[in-house]
C-alpha cells in the first residue's frame, strides 16, 4: 500500500469514526445520565437519513440550513418522545427497557414503511460539496467526506463546550454522578432528562443526515449501525464522551483498514477489537469514578 | 499450627498489617494494623467516616488494599478473592441488610451453607433436602432465634429479624473468623441481648471482629477495642484502658462530629 492510499484510508477511518462518535455520544449520554438502554437509537439515525432524503429537495443548496433544521426537528421529536414514552422507562429493569425499545424499533420501521415506503434511496450532496479537493501534490479527496469530518468536529467541540463550560452541562455532569443530589438542589430533573434525551436524538439524527449522501438510505439501516454503536460504548465506557471519541476512532480505523487487508473477515474486525478490550479492561477504556 | 501466645490470648487467626486504601488522593484507611485472635471479640469503633467499613471490606476481600498485607493463619491472602476467603473461613455480615429477599428464611441460610458443600455435579439431588446444608442452616437459624420464621419469605421479616438473618447467613458458612459490620443496628433491647449472648457463646472457637456504634454493647462484650479516627488507628487496647485513654476521649468528646 503506497503512502497516498494509506493517507486516504486514514482520512476515511477518521471520517467514519467521527460519524460514529456523534451517534455514540448520544447513546452514552442517554445511558450514562438516565440509565436507560435504548435499542431504538439506531432508528434515530435512520430518522436523520430519511429526513435528509425528504428535506434535501426543499433546501437545495442550503445544506447547512437543512442540517440545522433537521437537528431542530429531531430535537423536538426527541423531546416529545421522552415525554410520551421514555420517561416511563427509567424505573424499569434492563430487560423491560430492552423489550420496550425493541418494540419501538418495530413501530418506527413500520411507520417509516407506511410513510415513505421501502425503497432504497440516495441523497445528493449539494453542488458546492461535490467533487474532490486536492490535498498536497499527489492526492485528491472527496470534498463531502472532508465536510462530514469537519461538521462532526464542529459538533463535537460544541458538545464539549456545552458539557464542560455551561450551566446546563454542569447539571448534566452532576446528574450523571448523583441524581438525587441534583433533585435535592431544586433542579428540575424531569426537564433536564428531557433535554438530554432530545439532544441525544438530535445528535443521532445529525449523524444520519450527514451520512446520507455517503451511504444509501434503506430500511433496517438503523439496526446495523446500532450494534456498532454499542461496541463503541462498551469499548469507551458508558457515560464517557471522551471514551466514546477514542473508541469511535479506534473502531473507525479497525473497520476501514480491516476492509482493506482482510476483505472477507472485515465485518468481524471490530468485534475482535471489543473482545481484546474486554480481556484487558472489562470496564471500558475510560474508568468511571473510583 | 503453633500457638506461641500467652495463656489469655488465643491464636492469631487473621492478621492485617499496614492496610491502606486510597480513593484518588484521599486515604480512607491509612496504615491500619489489626489482629484477630481466637477466643476474642475485637471491636472496632470510631466516628462516622473513620474508615471502619472500608477496613472490613478489605478484610473480607471486596475491596483491594492499596497497600499492606493480610494473613490468615500465616498464609498471605492479600490477593485472594472474596469467595476464596469465604471458603477458607472468613465470614461476614453486612451493615446494610444483604439477604435474599425472595427466598424463605431457611433457604437464605441453606444457600449460604451450601457454599461449603457445593456438590455441583450431583444434579439429581434436590437442594432443599440436602442433608449437609439443611441441618447447618437449621442450626444457624435457631442460634439467632429465627426458628419460628424459618418457612416464611425473608422479605417479610421485621428489620430486626433481617439483621438476625444476616448473622445466621454468616454463621451458616461456618467461618473461623467473623467480620460483623454493625450487627446490632436497628435491633431492640431483647434482640440485642440475644445477639450478645450468641457472640459470647461464639467467641470460644472463633475470632470475631465487631464494628459497632452501640458503646454499651461494645464495652460489655469486647475483649479488645481498636479506635479509628479519619482512617487511622489511634488506640488498640483492652476496654478498661480505652475508656481512660486521653486520645480517645479527645476524639469522642473533643472533636465530635
Amino acid at each position: 500500500m503506497d503512502l497516498t492510499t494509506f493517507l486516504i484510508q486514514c482520512l476515511n477511518a477518521v471520517q467514519y469514526g467521527l460519524l460514529l462518535f456523534l451517534l455514540a455520544s448520544g447513546l452514552t449520554l442517554i445511558f450514562g445520565i438516565m440509565g436507560v438502554i435504548n435499542l431504538a437509537h439506531g432508528s434515530f439515525y435512520m430518522l436523520g437519513a430519511y429526513l435528509a432524503f425528504s428535506l434535501a429537495p426543499l433546501f437545495g443548496q442550503q445544506f447547512l440550513v437543512m442540517l440545522m433544521c433537521g437537528a431542530l426537528l429531531s430535537f423536538v421529536f426527541g423531546y416529545l418522545l421522552e415525554w410520551a414514552f421514555f420517561s416511563y422507562l427509567y424505573q424499569r429493569d434492563h430487560l423491560q427497557q430492552v423489550l420496550m425499545t425493541y418494540a419501538l424499533i418495530l413501530v418506527f420501521e413500520e411507520l417509516r414503511s407506511l410513510l415513505v415506503g421501502n425503497d432504497v434511496h440516495g441523497v445528493q450532496a449539494p453542488a458546492w460539496l461535490t467533487g474532490t479537493i486536492p490535498l498536497g501534490e499527489r492526492m485528491t479527496y472527496p470534498t463531502y467526506r472532508l465536510f462530514a469530518s469537519a461538521a462532526c468536529i464542529v459538533i463535537a467541540v460544541g458538545l464539549y463546550f456545552v458539557v464542560n463550560r455551561t450551566r446546563l452541562g454542569m447539571m448534566v455532569r452532576a446528574g450523571a454522578s448523583n441524581r438525587d443530589m441534583v433533585r435535592g438542589l431544586g433542579i428540575d430533573i424531569t426537564r433536564l432528562y428531557r433535554i438530554v434525551f432530545a439532544a441525544g436524538v438530535a445528535l443521532a439524527a445529525l449523524a444520519g443526515m450527514i451520512a446520507a449522501p455517503l451511504s444509501s438510505v434503506y430500511p433496517g439501516m438503523g439496526g446495523s449501525v446500532l450494534i456498532i454503536c454499542f461496541v463503541v460504548v462498551v469499548i469507551g465506557g458508558i457515560g464517557s464522551i471522551t471514551g466514546a471519541l477514542i473508541a469511535s476512532l479506534m473502531v473507525g480505523f479497525v473497520d476501514t483498514f480491516g476492509k482493506v487487508f482482510f476483505a472477507e473477515l472485515s465485518g468481524i474486525g471490530i468485534y475482535l477489537l471489543m473482545a481484546i478490550i474486554l480481556i484487558w479492561r472489562p470496564e471500558g477504556l475510560a474508568k468511571r469514578g473510583a | 499450627m503453633s500457638d506461641g501466645a500467652t495463656a489469655d490470648a488465643g491464636t492469631v487467626l487473621l492478621q492485617a498489617t499496614g492496610l491502606t486504601r486510597r480513593f484518588g488522593g484521599l486515604a480512607a484507611v491509612n496504615a491500619v494494623s489489626i489482629e484477630l485472635r481466637r477466643g476474642e471479640v475485637h471491636a472496632v469503633i470510631g466516628t462516622n467516616g473513620a474508615g471502619k467499613s472500608t477496613l472490613v471490606n478489605m478484610l473480607s476481600g471486596e475491596l483491594a488494599p492499596s497497600d499492606g498485607t493480610i494473613r490468615l493463619a500465616g498464609t498471605d491472602i492479600t490477593k485472594w478473592s472474596q469467595p476464596k476467603r469465604a471458603r477458607a473461613g472468613i465470614g461476614r455480615s453486612y451493615q446494610r441488610t444483604n439477604i435474599f429477599n425472595e427466598f424463605s428464611v431457611f433457604e437464605n441460610a441453606r444457600l449460604s451453607a451450601q457454599a461449603a458443600h457445593q456438590r455441583v455435579w450431583a444434579l439429581w439431588q434436590g437442594a432443599r433436602t440436602c442433608n449437609r446444608s439443611g441441618p447447618v442452616a437449621d442450626a444457624a437459624i435457631e442460634a439467632v432465634g429465627l426458628g419460628r420464621h424459618a418457612a416464611g419469605p425473608a422479605g417479610n421479616l421485621s428489620h430486626g429479624g433481617k439483621r438476625q438473618l444476616e448473622i445466621a447467613m454468616c454463621l451458616a458458612t461456618r467461618p473461623q473468623v467473623l467480620l460483623l459490620d454493625e450487627p446490632l443496628a436497628g435491633m431492640g433491647a431483647e434482640e440485642t441481648e440475644r445477639m450478645l449472648g450468641l457472640l459470647d457463646a461464639l467467641k470460644a472457637d472463633h475470632a470475631v471482629l465487631l464494628v459497632e456504634h452501640d458503646m454499651d454493647a461494645v464495652f460489655r462484650i469486647a475483649d479488645r477495642i481498636t479506635v479509628m479516627v479519619n482512617g487511622e488507628v489511634i488506640a488498640t487496647d483492652v476496654p478498661e484502658q480505652i475508656r481512660v485513654d486521653p486520645a480517645v476521649r479527645v476524639a469522642y468528646l473533643g472533636e465530635d462530629d
Binding site: 438502554i37 434492563h94 430487560l95 423491560q96 430492552v98 423489550l99 420496550m100 418494540a103 418495530l106 420501521e109 450494534i227 461496541v231 462498551v234 473477515l265 465485518g267 468485534y271 480481556i279 | 471486596e62 500465616g74 472474596q82 469467595p83 477458607a88 473461613g89 439477604i99 435474599f100 424463605s104 431457611f106 444457600l111 451450601q114 457454599a115 457445593q118 456438590r119 450431583a122 444434579l123 439429581w124 434436590g126 437442594a127 432443599r128 440436602c130 439443611g134 437449621d138 442450626a139 437459624i141 435457631e142 442460634a143 424459618a150 418457612a151 416464611g152 419469605p153 425473608a154 422479605g155 417479610n156 421485621s158 447467613m169 451458616a172 458458612t173 449472648g197 450468641l198 470460644a204 472457637d205
Partner: protein, 367 residues
C-alpha cells in the same frame, strides 16, 4: 492451591444459647417451606400442567391437519429455544441479547456436518450441533461475563453479530444465500426424520427432555445457586461461591440447548441462512420469555405459544385486513409495549398480579 482451614470446626451453637430458642424441631420449618424459592417448586400445577400439555401435544399428529401440525412443530422448537434462554435470563438473571447466535450455529453445523449424499446420523449431527454451539457459548460467555448489566447485554449482542457476519460474509456458509440440507438425517433402522410424523415425535421428545432436564437442574444445588446469583450475587460471593464459574456453566448449557433447537430447525426446513442469527431473533426470544413470564419453565413454553399465535394472527389478512397484515410488525410492536407496560410478570404472573396482595415489608433495593 491449598486452602487454609483450622482443624477444629465447631458448629456455632455452643452453650449459652437460651433453651427457649434452641427448642424448635428441625423438620418442621423445612417441611412446610411454602415461601418463594427457585422456579420449579413443588406445586401441583407445576407438575401436572407439563404432563397434560405433553399428552395433548402427543395426540396432535393423529387429529390435526398438516397446517396445524406444522404450526405446532414450529411452536415446539421455539419452546425449546425459549427454555434455553429461560435458564440464562430467568433463572440466573443474565439478560443475553445474542442468544440467536447459538441457535444459528447449531443449525449451520447440522447442515455443514451432514454428508453430501445420503443421510447423516441423527445422533452424530445432533451432538455436533450442540457441541459447536456450546463451544461458541464458552468463548462468548468467558468474555462477556467479565461485564455486568447493560454492558453484558451489549456485548452478547455484539458477539452474536460477529457470528452473523462470519456466516454472512465468508464462504463457510453459502454467504447470504444460505445452504441446503440435502438429505435429512436418520437413526439407522429406527427413525427417518424425513417423515413428518417421525420428526414431530422427535421434536416433541426433545422438548420433553429439555423441560425435564431443566426441571431437575433447577431443584438441584446448582440450580439453587444460579437463583441465588440472580437475586443477590454479592451475597453468594460472600458465602464462598465462585459465581463466574456458575454463570459460565449456565451460559454454555443454555447455548447447547439453543443449538438443539437450531438442529431441529435445520432438519425441519432443510435450509439455513444467516438471518437465523440476526439480532431481531435474539430480541424475539427474549420477548417470548417476558410474554409467558420470566422465572418459570412453563412461562417459556407459554411465551413461545402466545408469540407464535400472535404473529400468525397479526399477519393473516383474513383476520386483520390487508393493510395491517402487511405491517404486522406495527401491531406486534404496539402489543409488546402495552404488554410490558401492564403485565411485566407475564401471563404466568397474571393471577398473582390480579390478586394484588400488598407486600407487608418493602423489598430491599438491589442494583
Amino acid at each position: 492451591m491449598a486452602e487454609t482451614r483450622a482443624p477444629t470446626r465447631v458448629l456455632p451453637i455452643a452453650s449459652g444459647v437460651p433453651p427457649a430458642i434452641a427448642g424448635g424441631g428441625s423438620a418442621g420449618p423445612r417441611a412446610t417451606d411454602a415461601a418463594a424459592s427457585p422456579s420449579g417448586g413443588p406445586s401441583l400445577g407445576a407438575t401436572l400442567v407439563p404432563i397434560v400439555g405433553l399428552a395433548l401435544l402427543a395426540v396432535v399428529p393423529f387429529v390435526a391437519g398438516e397446517y396445524l401440525q406444522d404450526l405446532v412443530v414450529k411452536i415446539v422448537i421455539l419452546a425449546i429455544f425459549a427454555l434455553s434462554l429461560e435458564l440464562l435470563a430467568g433463572t440466573t438473571g443474565l439478560v443475553s441479547l445474542g442468544h440467536a447466535a447459538f441457535l444459528g450455529i447449531g443449525a449451520y453445523t447440522a447442515v455443514l456436518a451432514a454428508p453430501k449424499t445420503g443421510a447423516g446420523s441423527v445422533v452424530v449431527l445432533l451432538l455436533l450441533s450442540m457441541a459447536s454451539a456450546a463451544v461458541y457459548a464458552l468463548f462468548v460467555g468467558a468474555l462477556s461475563l467479565r461485564t455486568r448489566g447493560v454492558y453484558f447485554i451489549m456485548v452478547t449482542l455484539a458477539f452474536a453479530q460477529m457470528a452473523y457476519f462470519i456466516f454472512h460474509d465468508t464462504k463457510i456458509g453459502g454467504g447470504s444465500d444460505g445452504i441446503y440440507l440435502n438429505v435429512k438425517p436418520v437413526v439407522d433402522g429406527l427413525l427417518d426424520l424425513k417423515d413428518r410424523n417421525a420428526f414431530y415425535g422427535f421434536a416433541l421428545g426433545a422438548l420433553a427432555a429439555t423441560y425435564g432436564l431443566l426441571a431437575v437442574l433447577l431443584r438441584s444445588r446448582f440450580g439453587h445457586a444460579l437463583a441465588g446469583i440472580r437475586v443477590n450475587e454479592q451475597r453468594m460471593r460472600a458465602a464462598g461461591f465462585r459465581t463466574y464459574g456458575y454463570k459460565l456453566a449456565a451460559f454454555v448449557l443454555a447455548g447447547a440447548l439453543a443449538g438443539l433447537a437450531g438442529f431441529l430447525i435445520a432438519v425441519r426446513d432443510g435450509f439455513v441462512n444467516p438471518e437465523m442469527l440476526a439480532w431481531q431473533e435474539s430480541g424475539t426470544v427474549l420477548l417470548m420469555l417476558i410474554l409467558g413470564g420470566l422465572g418459570h419453565l412453563r412461562g417459556a413454553v407459554l411465551g413461545a405459544i402466545v408469540f407464535t399465535l400472535l404473529k400468525e394472527l397479526y399477519a393473516s389478512e383474513g383476520l386483520v385486513g390487508p393493510l395491517l397484515a402487511g405491517h404486522w410488525q406495527l401491531t406486534l410492536g404496539l402489543t409488546i409495549i402495552a404488554f410490558v407496560a401492564t403485565m411485566p410478570k407475564g401471563l404466568i404472573g397474571l393471577p398473582a398480579q390480579l390478586r394484588r396482595k400488598p407486600r407487608a415489608v418493602e423489598i430491599a433495593d438491589d442494583e
